[in-house]
Amino acid sequence: MLQLIARRLSVSVLLILLISFLTFVLQSLAPGDVAKTILNSGSGQLGGGYTDEQYQELRRALGLDQPLLVQYWDWLSHAIRGDLGVSPVSGVDVTSAISSRLPVTVSLVVLGTVVTAALGIGLGMISAVRGGRLGRVVDVFSVIGFALPNFWLALLLVALFAVSLGMLPATGYVPIDVSPAEWARSLILPIATLSLSATASFAKQTRDSMLDTLSRDFVRMLRANGASEASIVFRHGLRNAAIPVVTLVGLLFIGLFSGAVFIESVFALPGMGRLAVQATEQHDLPVVQGVVVVLTLVVVVTNLAVDLVYGWLNPKVRVS
């Protein structure tokens, strides 16, 4: 077990190296650079408020005139020591920039995953056991949920629940340590948006998996030999049906990090997604790299967690 974790994490280091290098190279190929961003940032104009000499000098000062590999090595050698650098645009330490944004995104994504998974699995179980109309409703909503652009949905939800009905805050985020109640309120609409699209398809998958499990030989065997229906559904059914569903939870969790980019914009949540978009726009390489590293870690750790849970659920793939 520990060996597996160690191996996976060591592979993930390679992965992060590779991905960070790719992003670095790609970013560097992009027209424009951070020097222009800085020079334009205070001009109050649509660009063009600086001279070429200024530009060249700033580039030199920022080390942008160095060869790409030197720049990457410079970043990497610091990153290895846990120093993700300082944003040349904002002067903010990347680690603290990310750590101040991470709680927002993590709140959003974790709660989104929990809500989606809980609702989805619950609905899926019920529709598997009860079947019939509920199953069809789940089907219909899973497709509709998939089809709605989530930022569009978000705009509609804000218009309805925040502006027209005034029930919930339209935008903004309250840290949980300031006020747990307000924190929850500020996340209701964003999470509703995230979950609406995923819950139904989750339910559908759960139901399919559950139906598949319930049609297997061992269920017939258990029934025939007198096992209770509750045990069949909740002990045997759920545990077996959970195996594919766990993979889905992992995918959902990772997927929501992307979904969060849009949601954070619409609801004005100061999360990582917005940070990433902004940094990309600004050619703020250290921040982009930092976000990429963090997101890659999230993916790696999530996949590892899924594998571990998977092994726990499914003795066949259990690694000793």
């Binding site: 025939a224 030999n225 096992a227 992307s258 990309t280 659920l313 499914n314």
Partner: protein, 654 residues
């Protein structure tokens, strides 16, 4: 013993009716034709075709030039002149929607095409060739999946100056790994298929095998995924527009229009509706289409495609006679049992008018080929018919309980404690995620209760009683760690947990090797002797019947056609089907010479004749056989559903 029905094998199609009317021609219809039978698929397809046509012929269809400004009428709501209103520059929203499809659909298409090409090519190659290609593939997939896609997409867009074609291709590549895994999985499965081996043996070129044999099997998933992804790509296209990467003005796109609308949402919220709905419906259509394709292709490659719609109504008319009185001496007494199952065309009776008795401590065989209704009969006894299955008439008397009328809770209390089951696939009949011990524990607890220790002690006792050498170690193992024989012993222990009076053993040794089979049969016999338990043994193997059963029932096409003490039946069958089966056993033939064989195959329930079900395959059949044949008792203790049973005896003595 006579060769009832030896046939000249060289004669064309002598054995089986041409075309196999037992396997209907449903799946000859091309997939797309069957797709068109689904209303949702048709609507989705129609909508998409409409969008595409509208986009292609936009210049003709659109009421206005999409770039035609009218600054005097900006942001007007829907009106007669502008059905969907105007945008912030006074342009006609409908016309822009129609033209917008051009770019949006092409973008979606580019993404979907890249997605399919990358996913199929890599997945196919990795799955088919395996080895290092597969390792490289797996590794690459892991890498790509870990890439934060949206950010890379943003970077790509920056690098390529907002070029959406490149971005959509990148999206296709970034999304392909998951799909490639699916393709690889399917390909791995297909690679195991024997027809691939056969093609290799024939020396067919690899390219041909890939394109003609593997690819078509992957087509279903490809179409499904491509369709879903096309829809998703439309959403991403719009989402990127939302983040500021639109196409060039004045070209309209759906995403761009949503963004336009969002920027004036406070001034004219209506504008959000037309592009949003158009886009959502397009995505929806792709998704529905994908679902429909999945369902139809599942239908097509599905192996079960019997249809029984034609005759089922007639079947209902031919009601079995009223059930006779149960045998009071029997432990289990079945009378007039008729069971129907759903089929593609309605329901059909698959077991008709079955009488069956098992006395306490007796071992009774239920013999027949597949499709004769043996297993369904067993399921009916246990109240475990598959969804939609129904006992139409008859009684199943187990001691003092009629299982056909018993309520759910009564049925549950009977199962395990009075009647229990072991089945054909020993490993599959155990839950893979619990240890053997846990599974036996559960049933012990259910039937006897008690403390943890008491339960486990009883479990170990049971495992010992099924002659497992190291019960404690077996209890700790998971089903996949057990051999078939061990798994079947565990299953037997589970069945014994409730100390049942009757054990239904549904082909308990069919999946096992002969030596293991012998052990399991001996085990069953000794347990039976120890406990005085009755066994109803369902099998197709005469040898097994001969070895362990006292009496046997032979089933053919839903009917019990003969019942007799085993030795007597084997010595002198009194139904041509039993006789034919016995004669076609290779062990009883002359090596190297023709075996006696019964022509044709067991018909599907829908194709059962009105009279004797066996008549079409029977060498003895006459006009008399066209009418329903009741069971008769040609000799004491023997029943036969044949009007010509006397001719069998003549044949034997002749």
């Amino acid at each position: 013993m006579t060769a009832v029905a030896s046939q000249d094998l060289a004669a064309p199609s002598s054995d089986e009716p041409p075309g196999g009317n037992s396997r209907p021609a449903v799946s000859r219809t091309p997939t797309w034709r069957r797709l068109l039978r689904r209303p949702l698929a048709v609507i989705s397809l129609a909508y998409l075709v409409l969008l595409v046509l509208a986009a292609v012929f936009a210049d003709v269809v659109a009421p206005y030039d999409p770039a035609d400004l009218d600054l005097d009428h900006v942001l007007s709501g829907p009106s007669a002149g502008h059905l969907l209103g105007t945008d912030p520059l006074g342009r006609d929203v409908l016309s822009r929607l129609i033209h917008g499809g051009q770019v949006s659909l092409v973008n979606g298409g580019v993404a979907a095409l890249t997605f399919v090409m990358v996913g199929v090519a890599t997945g196919l190659v990795a799955g088919f060739f395996g080895g290092w290609t597969d390792r490289v593939f797996t590794w690459a997939v892991d890498v790509v999946i870990a890439i934060p896609g949206l950010i890379v997409l943003l970077v790509v867009l920056t690098v390529f100056g907002g070029n959406m074609t490149v971005a959509m291709a990148a999206l296709g590549i970034l999304s392909a790994p998951g799909f490639a895994r699916v393709v690889r999985g399917v390909t791995l499965g297909v690679r195991q298929e024997l027809y691939i081996s056969a093609a290799k043996v024939s020396g067919l070129p690899t390219r041909h095998i890939l394109l003609r044999h593997v690819l078509p099997r992957v087509t279903g998933p490809i179409l499904v995924q491509a369709s879903l992804f096309f829809g998703a790509a439309l959403l991403v296209d719009a989402g990127l527009a939302y983040l500021g990467f639109g196409v060039q003005p004045p070209t309209p796109t759906w995403g761009g229009m949503i963004i336009e609308a969002a920027s004036v949402i406070s001034q004219q919220p209506w504008l959000l509706v037309p592009p949003g709905i158009t886009l959502a419906l397009a995505t929806l259509s792709f998704a529905l289409l994908g679902d429909a394709i999945r369902d139809t292709s599942a239908e097509r490659t599905g192996r079960q495609s019997g249809n029984a719609r034609r005759r089922s109504a007639a079947r209902r008319a031919e009601l079995p006679r009223p059930a006779g009185a149960p045998d009071p001496a029997a432990l289990l007494s079945v009378r007039g049992l008729t069971v129907s199952l759903p089929t593609s065309g309605g329901t059909a009776d698959v077991v008709a008018d079955v009488d069956l008795d098992v006395r306490p401590g007796e071992t009774v065989g239920l013999v027949g080929e597949s499709g004769c209704g043996k297993s369904i009969t067993a399921s009916a006894l246990l109240g475990l018919l598959p969804a939609g299955g129904e006992i139409r008439t008859g009684r199943v008397q187990l001691g003092d309980v009629d299982l056909t009328t018993a309520g759910k809770s009564l049925l549950r209390s009977v199962r395990g404690s009075r009647i229990a089951l072991i089945s054909q696939e020993p490993v599959a009949s155990l839950d893979p995620v619990f240890t053997a011990g846990q599974q036996v524990d559960e049933l012990v607890r259910r039937h006897h209760g008690g403390s943890r220790q008491a339960v486990r002690a009883r479990t170990l006792e049971l495992l010992t009683s099924v002659r497992l050498r190291d019960p404690e170690s077996v209890a700790r193992r998971y089903p996949h760690e057990l051999s078939g024989g061990m798994a079947q012993r565990v299953a037997i222990a589970m069945a014994l947990a409730g100390e049942p009076d009757l054990l239904v053993a549904d082909e308990p040794t069919t999946a096992l090797d002969v030596t293991v089979q012998a052990e399991i049969l001996r085990l069953l016999q000794s347990i039976q002797a120890e406990r005085g338990m009755a066994v109803l043994l369902i099998t197709h193997d005469w040898g097994v019947v001969a070895q362990v059963c006292q009496r046997a029932y032979v089933m053919y096409a839903g009917h019990v056609v003969e019942s007799a003490p085993v030795a007597a039946m084997i010595d002198q069958p009194l139904h041509p089907y039993s006789a034919g089966l016995l004669a076609s056993m290779p062990g009883r033939g002359r090596p190297g010479h023709h075996l006696a064989s019964i022509p044709g195959t067991v018909p599907a329930p829908a194709d059962w004749p009105a009279g004797c079900h066996f008549a079409p395959r029977c060498a003895l059949a006459t006009e008399d056989c066209a009418a329903p044949v009741p069971l008769s008792e040609p000799a004491p203790g023997r029943l036969s559903r044949c009007v010509h049973h006397d001719r069998l005896i003549e044949g034997a003595t002749a």
